[in-house]
Amino acid sequence: MAGKTTNVFIAGVGGQGILLASEILSDVALAKGLDVKKSEVHGMAQRGGSVVSHVRFGDEVHSPVITAGEADLLVSFEKMEALRWVQAVAPGGKVIVNTQEIVPSGQEVYPKDIDSQMDQRAPGTLRIDALALAKEAGHIRAVNVVMLGAISHFLDFSEDEWKAAIEARVPKKTIEINTKAFELGRRAVAS
C-alpha cells in the first residue's frame, strides 16, 4: 500500500467511543511518519445519533473525507450503521461489523433484515460480538478498543505500535483491560 492512501471509515452510534478509536488509529499512523487526516461531525455523541469518523493516511493526503466507493475498511460499531454506510466500501474493501443492536429513537423495534441486506451488498462481511469480547476483557466500555483490535489485523502497523498508541490515550488504570480488549478483537478477526 506504499504511496496510496488507506481509507478507514468508522461508524456507529453516539456514546460507543468511535471518536477515541479514530484518535488512536490516527496516532498510530502519525507515529509512523505518515500524512494523516481525519474528519468527523461533532455533536451527536450525547444524543444517540449516527456518528462517523473518516481516517485517511498515506504519503500525501488531501481531502479529509472518504466518499462513496473509497473505503478500504468499513468498520461499524453497531449493526445497522454498517448498512447505512455500505456504499462507502471500495471494490475489494473489507467490512467489519459489531453485532450489537441499538434501537434508533423514534423506532419502536429493531429492523429484522439488516444482516440479509448487508450480505447482499457486502458479501464477506466479518461479524464480531465486540460487546461480549469487551465484557471478557473486563468492561463493556472497551468495545471501541476491541474494534481497533479487529481493524489492526488488516493494517500494516505492529501490535507494539498499536499498544503504544492505546496506552497513551486511555486512563492508566484501564490499560490492562484495553490491551486485553485489543488482543481479543485482533484474534477474533484472524480466526
Binding site: 455533536g43 449516527s50 479529509p64 462513496a68 434508533p104
Partner: protein, 581 residues
C-alpha cells in the same frame, strides 16, 4: 514536534504562537472549540465568552484599541449578529492586530443556513484569508496578524466545518511575545461621525488598492505545477477536495482571496483553454474572475452551489457521471433530546394542551421531532419572542393563548432580552418560557452570564431572570421545576389564561452536567402497564415497546429518579423508582 490538530485547535495554537493577548467568542458550531482551546493558554491570553457575537466583537475591538493582538471567533451566522461593529471596524483601522474568525458550515451540519461568509470580507472591504488544512490555519494566523498591523485593517479568517473538525498534522512552534501598541486618543479614526467617516471611506479605498497589490505576491497564494493542460483555481477546503478530484492538474491555490489577485489569476488562466473554478457554495472567486474580464472558466455551471463538496461530487460534476452509489434503506437515527432532559416536560405539555410555540436555537429545537412535535417556528438566535409577539399582533390577542415563545437560557441572554422588552413595551399578551438548564448546552456546555462561572474559571454573578423581567415591565414572572410535569402543565395553563405577558422559567439542570445525580433506571410493572403508549409520547430514547406492546425502559440510557417524567405521566402508575436493595 508534530501533532494532529483540528482546525479549531490550530486556530488556538496560532493565536498562542503569534502573540495574541485577548480572545472573545460566543459558542456556535463549528467554531466553539476555538475559544475552548485558546483558554488552555490562559496564562498568556485572556479569554471570555460574551453574551453574543456582537458584544464579543466589540470587546475585541476594545482590546484592539488597547493595542493588543486580538482574535474573535464565531460561526457564520454569528457574523450576522456582529455585522454592525464589523462594518465600522473596517474604517477605524490601526492599533493592535485583529483577526475575525468565521467558521462557516457548508452542508449545514448544525446550522440554519449555509451562507458563504467570504462575501463579508468584500462587503466590509477587509482582507480574506482562507487556509486549507490545520498547518495552514496555524501559519496563516501569523500572516493575517502581520497584514492586519501593516495595513491597519481587521482580517477575516475563514474556515469551515471540514477544517474546524478535521485533524491534520501540525508542526508546533514557540510563542512570540508582541508588545502592546501605545494608546493615544485619536477621534479622527475612532469616532465615526459623518465628517470623519467620509474621510475614512477614502482611506479604506486607498488601503484596498494597496492590499490588492500585496495579494499579487502574497505567499499565501501559490501555484502548484502539474499537467500543463488542466488548470484549477480553488481555496479553503475545496482545494483539498479538488486535489483529490484532479490529482495531476496545475493549481492556483488562493490563501488570500480578497482583495483578489487579478493579475496573478489572469496570468494563470492564460495558460489553459479552460480553467475549473472549484468552490463550495457561492461563486465568490468566479465572480471576481469574471469582473476582471477572465472568462475561459467553468465554475457554478458545473460545481453545485447547494451543500458541501467532496472529491467525488467534483469529479462527477465535471464528468457528468453519478458515482454516489446506492444507499441502503435504513431507519434514520435523528438526534433527540437526551434521556433525562428537563426540556421534555414543557414540550410534552404544550403538545397535550394543543398549544404551539415559536421557538429558538439550542438543544430544545429538537422538540420539533415527533412525538413531542412541540415547535412551530425556529428562525435565528432570539427570534422566538419577537415571532410570538408578531403572530399575536397579526391574528389578535386571543392567539397568544394558542402560541407561546420558548427560548433557552443562553439564547435569552444572547438576544431574547430585547424581545421581552418589546412584548412589555408594545403591550403584548405573549407568554415567554425560558428553558433554563443552566448552561449553553447544544454546543457542548459553555458558561454564560446566567451560570455563575467565567471561561477563565472564576465564579461570578448570575443573571436573575425574574428580576430582569420585572425591570422590563413583565410583572407576572415565576420559576417552575421543569422535572415536575404537573407543575409545568399548571404554569402553562395559568400563563396563557392571563391577559398580560408572562415569563415562566422552567428550571432543571441539563442531565449531562453532573452524572453523579443519575440513579438506577426506572422500572415498568407489566401487571399494571396497559400498553397505552402515553409514556412513549415523551419521546425519551430510554423507552420503547417490547413484543407485547408494553413499555420497557433501557437501563443503559435511563437517568433514574432525577427525571422520572414517565412515572409522573403514566395513568396506571406502572412506572416507578426501583426498590433500594
Amino acid at each position: 514536534m508534530r501533532v494532529l490538530l483540528s482546525g479549531n485547535e490550530a486556530v488556538a495554537r496560532g493565536c498562542y504562537e503569534h502573540g495574541v493577548k485577548v480572545a472573545t467568542a460566543y459558542p456556535g458550531t463549528p467554531s466553539t472549540e476555538i475559544l475552548e482551546n485558546v483558554v488552555k493558554y490562559k496564562d498568556d491570553i485572556y479569554c471570555q465568552w460574551s453574551p453574543n457575537e456582537k458584544v464579543a466583537f466589540e470587546v475585541a475591538m476594545g482590546a484592539v484599541f488597547g493595542g493588543a493582538r486580538t482574535m474573535t471567533a464565531m460561526k457564520h451566522v454569528g457574523l450576522n449578529v456582529a455585522a454592525d461593529p464589523l462594518m465600522t471596524s473596517t474604517s477605524v483601522g490601526g492599533d493592535g492586530g485583529f483577526i475575525i474568525v468565521t467558521a462557516d458550515d457548508p452542508g449545514m451540519h448544525s446550522s440554519q443556513n449555509e451562507q458563504d461568509n467570504r462575501y463579508y470580507a468584500k462587503f466590509a472591504k477587509i482582507p480574506l484569508v482562507e487556509p486549507s488544512n490545520s498547518q495552514e490555519v496555524k501559519d496563516f494566523i501569523g500572516h493575517a496578524l502581520t497584514i492586519s498591523e501593516e495595513f491597519g485593517t481587521p482580517v477575516l479568517f475563514r474556515i469551515s466545518t471540514r477544517i474546524s473538525h478535521a485533524k491534520s498534522p501540525v508542526e508546533l512552534g514557540e510563542r512570540v511575545e508582541v508588545p502592546l501598541k501605545d494608546y493615544e486618543k485619536d477621534t479622527s479614526r475612532r469616532v465615526v461621525i459623518p465628517a470623519h467617516a467620509r474621510r475614512l471611506h477614502v482611506k479604506v479605498e486607498k488601503r484596498l488598492k494597496a492590499l490588492a497589490e500585496y495579494a499579487e505576491t502574497c505567499p499565501m497564494n501559490e501555484i502548484i505545477e502539474g499537467d500543463p493542460k488542466v488548470g484549477v483555481i480553488s481555496s479553503g477546503i475545496s482545494y483539498e477536495y479538488a486535489r483529490d478530484a484532479f490529482p495531476d492538474a496545475t493549481f492556483l491555490k488562493l490563501g488570500m482571496s480578497f482583495p483578489f489577485p487579478a493579475g496573478l489569476a489572469a496570468e494563470f488562466c492564460k495558460r489553459f483553454d479552460t480553467v475549473y473554478i472549484v468552490e463550495e457554495n457561492e461563486p465568490f472567486i468566479e465572480e471576481q474572475l469574471r469582473y476582471n474580464g477572465i472568462t475561459n472558466i467553468v465554475g457554478e455551471e458545473k460545481i453545485p452551489v447547494c451543500g458541501e463538496l467532496n472529491q467525488r461530487i467534483i469529479r462527477d460534476a465535471v464528468s457528468g457521471e453519478d458515482t454516489s452509489g446506492e444507499k441502503a434503506n435504513v431507519p434514520a437515527r435523528p438526534p433527540v433530546l437526551c434521556p433525562g432532559c428537563p426540556h421534555r416536560s414543557t414540550f410534552f405539555m404544550l403538545n397535550r394542551l394543543g398549544i404551539g410555540s415559536t421557538s429558538d436555537i439550542g438543544c430544545y429545537t429538537l422538540g420539533v421531532m415527533p412525538p413531542l412535535s412541540g415547535i412551530d417556528t425556529c428562525i435565528c438566535m432570539g427570534a422566538s419572542i419577537g415571532n410570538s409577539l408578531g403572530m399575536e399582533k397579526a391574528r389578535g390577542r386571543d392567539f397568544a393563548k394558542k402560541m407561546v415563545a420558548v427560548i433557552g437560557d443562553s439564547t435569552f441572554v444572547h438576544s431574547g432580552i430585547t424581545g421581552l422588552a418589546d412584548v412589555a413595551y408594545n403591550k403584548g399578551a405573549t407568554t415567554v418560557i425560558i428553558l433554563d438548564n443552566s448552561i449553553t448546552a447544544m454546543t457542548g456546555h459553555q458558561h454564560h452570564p446566567g451560570t455563575g462561572m467565567t471561561l477563565m474559571g472564576e465564579p461570578t454573578i448570575k443573571v436573575d431572570y425574574l428580576k430582569l423581567a420585572g425591570a422590563l415591565g413583565v410583572k407576572d414572572a415565576k420559576k417552575v421545576d421543569a422535572y415536575d410535569v404537573n407543575a409545568v402543565k399548571q404554569a402553562i395553563k395559568d400563563a396563557v389564561a392571563t391577559d398580560e405577558p408572562t415569563l415562566l422559567v422552567m428550571e432543571g439542570p441539563c442531565a449531562l452536567l453532573d452524572r453523579s445525580t443519575w440513579g438506577p433506571a426506572l422500572v415498568v410493572d407489566w401487571d399494571k402497564c396497559t400498553a397505552c403508549g402515553l409514556c412513549l409520547r415523551l419521546g425519551c430514547p430510554s423507552i420503547s415497546r417490547d413484543e407485547t406492546g408494553k413499555a420497557q425502559i433501557n437501563p443503559l440510557f435511563c437517568v433514574g429518579e432525577l427525571c422520572s417524567m414517565c412515572a409522573q405521566v403514566c395513568p396506571s402508575n406502572a412506572i416507578s423508582v426501583p426498590e433500594k436493595s
